[in-house]
Amino acid sequence: MTTLTINGKTIEAPGGTILEVSQANGIRIPTLCNHPALAPKGACRLCLVEVKGSRVLQPACTFPISEGMEVQTESPKVRAARKFVLELLLSDHPKDCMTCEMCGNCELQDLIYEYGVKETPFVGDHHEYPLDDRDPFILRDMEKCIHCRRCIRACDEIQAVNAITMINRGFRSKVATSFDTRLQDSNCVFCGQCISVCPTGALTEKDSHGQGRVWQTTKVTTTCPYCGVGCNFDLNIRDGKVVKVTSNWNNPVNKGALCVKGRFGWQFLHSPDRLTIPLMKSSLWKEHKGTEGAPSRYEGFVEADWETALDAVAKGLLTAKSEDGPDAVGILASAKCTNEENYLIQKLARREIGTNNIDHCARL
């Protein structure tokens, strides 16, 4: 156990950084470049604290605690330094929070508010980048980027793709792909991990723009319907409709990570083309029921109920088996099913029907 004092309070901790120990003891230290899913970087300087004996202020997110250490997290010096950093960030930031997609959900905005940075004392250049909407799914507004490098680290540490990095030095440095190409011309896989960790409106979900503020939507945690991995995420719902998928960092399955389908492929939910009722060929229905059946939007098909539809399938399978032998039947299972479901389908093929004609599309 290490004993230290934070803001005069004696604390015992087994180890860790000043930030971790502070958080565990209910002491809030502001952060921007830090993210629980990423290795600390010490870049943004918002978490600076006073460590007795140190000439400069130290970042709480990377500084390990040690025996007898004396830390001040809210001294006037510390608050002034944080305000200074925020003033600098604001001096190179578009002040269009009103229309920014991230308004109300932006870590920079929250800190500017908390530290009361109304005006920046610095006049000078600010970055002017055109809105980068050349890619599907991801909108990049690099004028809003605060260079925290969370996206870069997510792409590296979580996704192991390394599609984006920092290019250039000094004021010209910028988050970009190599040679500043479109994401689709890099090795980006559009997993959107970068969006999920971006603290500002620099990286956002293209299809969700203007669809709802964070306080206008409710989050419903659910399991991705696409594949058997069973990633969890939060559906963001406004007026009964899904408008966005966001990472759910607390679930044990995928710990916030998603693939392009899970994160961006939600539009089918409200598609008028989506099948919500089983359809049967009109002739098949007539054969089973002797009636015309309820017409559907699709020519030659009628709307059926599950009972009739499944009956028809079972009958068809049994007929095929008895007339032409079990190998007349083949079953193709889906990657959208869980392992358990696929196991059962395989049982159906091998044991009930008696064929080894069972396969799987293996991917989506």
């Binding site: 970087k41 010490g42 300087r45 600076l48 202020l57 500084f63 004392p121 610095f122 000094g170 440095s173």
Partner: protein
Amino acid sequence: MTLKELERIRAKAQKELAVRGVEISPDSELKPPRPGEVRVVLRNCGQIDPERIEDYIAKDGYFALYKVLNMTPEQVIEEAKRSGLRGRGGAGFPPGQKWFFARQAVASRPAPADGTPPAYLICNGDEGDPGAFMDRAVLEGDPNSVLEGMAIAAYAMGATQGYIYVRAEYPVAVEHLQTAIPQARRLGLLGKNIFGKGFDFDVDIRIGAGAFVCGEETALIDSIEGRRGEPRPRPPFPAVSGLWGKPTSVNNVETLANIPQIFLNGADWFAGMGTEKSKGTKTFAIAGKVKNAGLIEVPMGITMREIIYDIGEGILNKKKFKAAQTGGPLGGCLPAKYLDTPIDFESLAAAGSLMGSGGLIVLDENDCMVDVARFFMDFTQDESCGKCPPCCLGTKRLLEILTRMTQAEGTAEDLQTIEYLTENISTTSLCALGQGSVNPVVTTMRHFRDEYESHVYKKFCPSGVCKGMFHYEILADVCNGCGVCRKKCPDKVIKGDKKVVHEIDLPNCIVCGDCYKACKFDAIAIRPGPTPKSRLPERR
């Protein structure tokens, strides 16, 4: 390799060297030692052929390594500490101490099971300070002294693999290292079981792509790992967790080149040179308005006056000394009152500057201190890695203010903003680049505040540098009518007959300064106020 063999090679090489001699290339920047110089690090440069390891052995090369391998690593560390040697890369940290920490870290971990080295030694040859070329001189002229220093350091700290990080702008240094390393391997001075003492050590070269920040040791480590060089927060210190997470010591070229000499001649010999806390010698690259510029090596504790006026032979064109900028872009500008201060780590730091890697730029009365500060800020802003806002954005804001001031647009408020920025940048930046970036501004503000105020309140650049903020006037009581200025003036706006006082037609003068430079009688003065045709400042 055995001691006997090494002695045989030395004897043969000494004879051969005496007959052959060494031709110093006429375009070599390194001149023979001048009075007042003491050469330890540069002793072999120009005296041996750097592409023949035998020449180095003729100068007792690798005998120190032999001696060291007969000591325990602890004894080596002790001897290095006792010599009082401090790192020459900038921070002045004792290398013995660094090796001690690294050695402790190696001992505290299990030996790597995968056959990777337990620790690394890195030689920092990035030398990014503009105008500095001491490390290049050593790498080009005596690469083996660095290799031997590295082997000794590696033995002390427990490393088996070394890297020399050299910037790509030093192709000759790279070439000489590429010759020296295989030669040392062939003689068994690098590789497995050196001198049969069971010590393995090999060296590879890593070429940097020319970023100043990659000289910062943690950024350098990133760069060797194949990533973009960006400083890492400390702790963990590289000695505990550096290259690929292993204990790592980063030592400067000049530091390492000192090591063999310390072990050949003994720690006491080394500690006999210099001041109480700064031992040995230091190389400096003197540049600027000094008659005899170039590379020198002098004992620590020498004064700036001795360097500039004795070794450097004084200021060019009989001008007045104004300041010396030491320590490179992160150092400071020291005015005349520091001329007699001994140069060592403490005194320079106390004066607000740095030893740095040993750049020394001499400034005279025609250097504008606001413009000098702007120049260095331009450099650091360009070289900031962009990781932390205080440095990336703070230096940008400082640069903008300084640029405005040199363009006659500075305000009183700007003076306050400069102070606000410098104070905060130095305490909130991640690495020494950001923290030190303000030093040129802070020192010029401290020692030459009148110049800043003149720029802001009078829109007058008293040194005659900032365009549009001054004009020239021929002093009637000094001008003897020699006519040189009239002939030099490109726009022919100086009027006057032979032996009669000349006059500038101010409305048509473009303030190019040719007359001012040409007048041998100091008859042209710098006066406030622009002329209508003053060349407009370049917009940055």
